[in-house]
């Protein structure tokens, strides 16, 4: 019995994480879409407190950040680390157990956030019981992965292992110090802590995991080694040092100490160094393989992610400059920026990894290549609309705040932007449903394909 619910089969835990992640993706995006629609139709759910915008927002953010992206990334880590270490995962059972814990947190957390059981700090809205469970889950995963690395069959660690293991060092720490359950401060200090945490789950968790995954995917898909190993390690260490102190750039005009702001600005600018080194490395590794984008869908996802990574990482340091921040802070521009990082970049990365990894692990071809392409294009076009509408709305708001026009005088000029955002959101939501359907049908229908035919994961020619 325990075998059925806590499988010890090789590769069962990444699959479990990935399937759960896809489920939460649909739920989380649905909540986000409904919230976005309420900007166009504010009285859409009037009187239903669980569906009011302010309840949907934390439910959406936490579900996509912890339910979708974290679980998808963890699944990828559980897939990539054993592969790169040429060994088995230390304990599939333990990882599967962790996945139950994590699913419980996301499900119960979703419901409790909708009911207003919230901590009230952005990205850290889960209350005490969930915080403790998340931390337990992270500790178990770290333990599991470290034991796996220790029993590896290769001598030197590939850069992806560095990135992923780094993430599993940092994230438990970040989570521990960033949540009020464990560390509570008063007043403005709580704001500083809030953004230390808020920015570092991005930097020390999503970014390092995402980049680690992409470093695995690019050489794997092209069949050529990564362009420069030392450059990739340089990127790792510079991220390690430059990312952590930047959180205060969310509070640049608030009354926090000036030296702290200066520190945040300087390090934010310095982030260009790891970013450029990572991107140069990706693009140089692609030399001679660009044609593959036409046939290889996982690679196409990853490289589109790399393109958005470029956008978000140029925006980031630029926004942290005081002059720019002065202008665009508080506006929807920033919301757009946050989505380029988590949706444009890391979601694209991990979807690439999932399409590839799921075929590997199940030994089945994807159910429909046409649906994969629909997924790609709907997500890309939807996201582009979404991103540009928020950016433009942000610039309009920036004018309003900068010249101190009363909100009522310009809020109506934003209406078209909210509409376009909802349209983009609908497209992305649809793409996620297709994704879920496609994976579901793959699980159900297709038969096992011989391993050697799976190498280039989704070639177009052979699609249905």
């Amino acid at each position: 019995m325990s075998n059925k619910f806590l499988s010890n089969e090789e590769g069962s835990s990444p699959k479990f994480f990935w399937y759960s992640a896809i489920f939460w993706l649909v739920i989380g995006m649905g909540a986000g879409l409904l919230g976005a629609l309420e900007f166009s139709f504010p009285d859409l759910t009037k009187g239903v407190e669980q569906l009011s915008f302010t309840r949907l927002r934390p439910a959406h953010v936490n579900t996509v950040a912890f339910g979708w992206l974290s679980m998808a990334n963890i699944g990828s880590a559980l897939f990539i680390i054993p592969a790169l270490c040429k060994t088995k995962l230390f304990s599939e059972k333990l990882a599967n157990f962790t996945c139950y814990v994590w699913n419980f947190v996301i499900g119960a957390g979703f419901i409790s956030l909708l009911n207003g059981y919230t901590e009230g700090r952005e990205y850290a809205e889960y209350r005490e019981p969930f915080d403790i469970l998340v931390l337990v889950g992270l500790a178990l995963l770290s333990y599991n992965l470290f034991r796996t690395v220790l029993t590896r069959n290769v001598k030197k660690l590939y850069v992806s292992v560095w990135y992923i293991m780094g993430a599993f060092f940092w994230m438990p720490l970040v989570y521990l110090v960033g949540n009020r359950t464990f560390v509570a401060m008063d007043g403005l200090n709580d704001g500083i802590l809030n953004w230390f945490y808020g920015h570092n789950i991005l930097g020390m968790w999503f970014t390092v995991l995402g980049v680690g995954i992409a470093y695995y995917m690019v050489p794997k898909m092209t069949g050529r080694p990564v362009w420069s190993h030392s450059l990739s390690m340089f990127g790792f260490w510079t991220i390690a040092f430059f990312y952590a102190p930047t959180g205060t750039h969310h509070l640049l005009q608030s009354p926090v100490p000036e030296w702290l702001k200066a520190l945040a600005v300087i390090f934010s600018a310095a982030l260009l160094i790891p970013v450029i080194s990572v991107l140069v490395n990706f693009y140089m590794s692609m030399k001679g393989s660009w044609w593959m984008l036409t046939t290889n869908m996982p690679l196409r996802f990853v490289l589109t992610g790399a393109f958005w990574y470029f956008i978000t990482c140029i925006q980031g340091p630029f926004q942290a400059m005081r002059g720019v921040n002065w202008y665009i802070h508080f506006t929807q521009w920033v919301v757009g920026h946050a989505h380029v990082a988590l949706l444009g970049t890391f979601t694209f990365f991990v979807i690439g990894a999932m399409y590839y990894g799921l075929q590997r692990l199940t030994g089945r071809r994807i159910y429909s290549v046409r649906l994969v392409k629909w997924h790609y294009w709907l997500l890309l076009v939807g996201f582009t609309l979404f991103f540009f509408s928020l950016t433009i709305a942000g610039l309009q708001q920036a004018v309003g705040w900068a010249l101190a026009y009363p909100v009522a005088q310009w809020s109506l000029t934003l209406v078209p932007m909210w509409m376009v955002r909802s349209i983009g959101g609908t497209m992305m939501f649809a793409s996620s449903c297709l994704f879920a359907y496609n994976i579901f049908m793959t699980m159900r229908e297709n038969s096992i394909t011989p391993k050697d035919q799976l190498d280039i994961a989704v070639p177009v020619e052979e699609g249905k």
């Binding site: 009230g120 590896r152 060092f169 008063d186 709580d190 809030n194 100490p257 809020s411």
Partner: protein
């Protein structure tokens, strides 16, 4: 397997230590040091305390030793639970106009968790207290679009009476201490921008002779059209809209206004009065029109303040006869009268919406 054991962590212990050590160091520098050095030493005079106290000024605590929040403190919890901070910030930036005086680190000393906010879909609320009457807030929270057409603020009509009353109490407490301190008004006074040459240069464009009777006459017309709703037809601050304002419009009969120079008048009209409903007319009127207004305002009798006894009303009946009100306002009235019955409605001194409230 035995071979693998030998590879183990060799060569990677140092990097792992560096990763953890550097992260901890950064944490200490950017979080712990500010925490140790900043607020605890300087709790400011404006820091609000959202707790109940006994006669001796001791903070009341429950069995678990947690301070018992007062009504505004409970309202703060509602504010967090309902996520108002996703759309409303609570810090006034150096460059902000119209949101009242700035907020400093010590002002937040007793508040936790922070609700600084990261996005301004709606205005900053740091100094929102006392600006509008309770009834306005209740109505607005129930149905924002009835009060501000086109607003995208969600409706919070699902809030229970207790929560609603606490939340409004909290809103009214925001910036209260800053507001009461006369120092903070002088900040605005000091901001007399002689140096803002662009502003004054623009004002010179088509500047009429402000001492002429013709200009004053023209100003009177503009005043009736734009200002009388608040300032009253005679500039006594008793227009019908003033009824619903916590911070009443200026009564120009106060002798104090004799001290105003042309430029001061002009500047006030053009820039509005931060923290009140007085609009910034330069967004709507041309410099020439504002100078006409100055000419008119100067001619108002400012020898002896006229104490206003009654607000001018468009039609008192409209407020009493609820059948003629749109449904959304009827809802608000029902809510308020229910809250009055069960004792959760505490009207603020700024004025009630029905009946005629006290003067300036």
């Amino acid at each position: 397997m035995s071979d693998n054991k030998k590879i183990g962590a060799r060569g990677y212990v140092l990097p792992a230590l560096v990763v953890i050590f550097s992260f901890s160091l950064i944490y200490i520098v950017v979080v712990l040091i500010p925490d140790m050095t900043m607020v605890k030493i300087h709790p400011s005079e404006y820091a609000m305390e959202y707790v109940q106290k006994d006669e001796k000024g001791e903070i009341l605590r429950d069995d678990k030793g947690i301070p018992v929040p007062n009504a505004a403190g409970r309202g703060r919890k509602v504010y967090i639970k309902e996520g108002c901070f996703y759309c409303h910030s609570q810090f006034v930036r150096p460059q902000d106009r119209d949101f009242g005086s700035r907020v400093y680190a010590g002002d937040y000393a007793n508040e936790t968790p922070n609700i600084l906010g990261t996005s301004r879909t709606g205005p900053d609320l740091s100094n929102e207290g006392q600006k509008l009457p309770d009834a306005w807030h209740i109505g607005h929270l129930r149905d924002p679009r009835a009060y501000t057409p086109g607003s995208i603020m969600p409706s919070f009509s699902f809030l229970g009476d207790e929560d609603m009353s606490d939340l409004v109490e909290y809103i009214q407490s925001l910036g209260q201490k800053r507001f009461e301190d006369p120092k903070n008004r002088q900040i605005y006074e000091a901001y007399y921008p002689e140096a803002d040459t662009a502003f004054w240069k623009k004002s010179e464009h088509h500047k009429p002779n402000v001492d002429s009777a013709a200009a004053a006459n023209a100003g009177a017309g503009i005043f009736r059209q734009n200002c009388a709703v608040c300032h009253g037809t005679n500039g006594l601050g008793n227009g019908p809209n003033a009824l619903a304002m916590a911070k009443k419009p200026a009564n120009f009969s106060e002798p104090f206004y004799k001290s105003y120079s042309d430029k001061t008048w002009y500047y006030r009209v053009a820039e509005g009065v931060p923290g009140t409903r007085m609009p910034r007319w330069k967004l709507k009127l041309a410099p020439e029109q504002m100078w006409y207004l100055v000419a008119y305002l100067k001619t108002l009798p400012q020898e002896k303040e006229v104490i206003i006894e009654k607000f001018q009303t468009i039609n008192d009946k409209d407020w009493e006869d609820q059948s003629s009100l749109p449904q959304r306002l009827v809802d608000t009235y029902e809510n308020i009268s229910r809250m009055k019955d069960n004792g959760t409605y505490k009207s603020n001194p700024g004025g009630e919406i029905e009946g005629v409230a006290g003067g300036h």
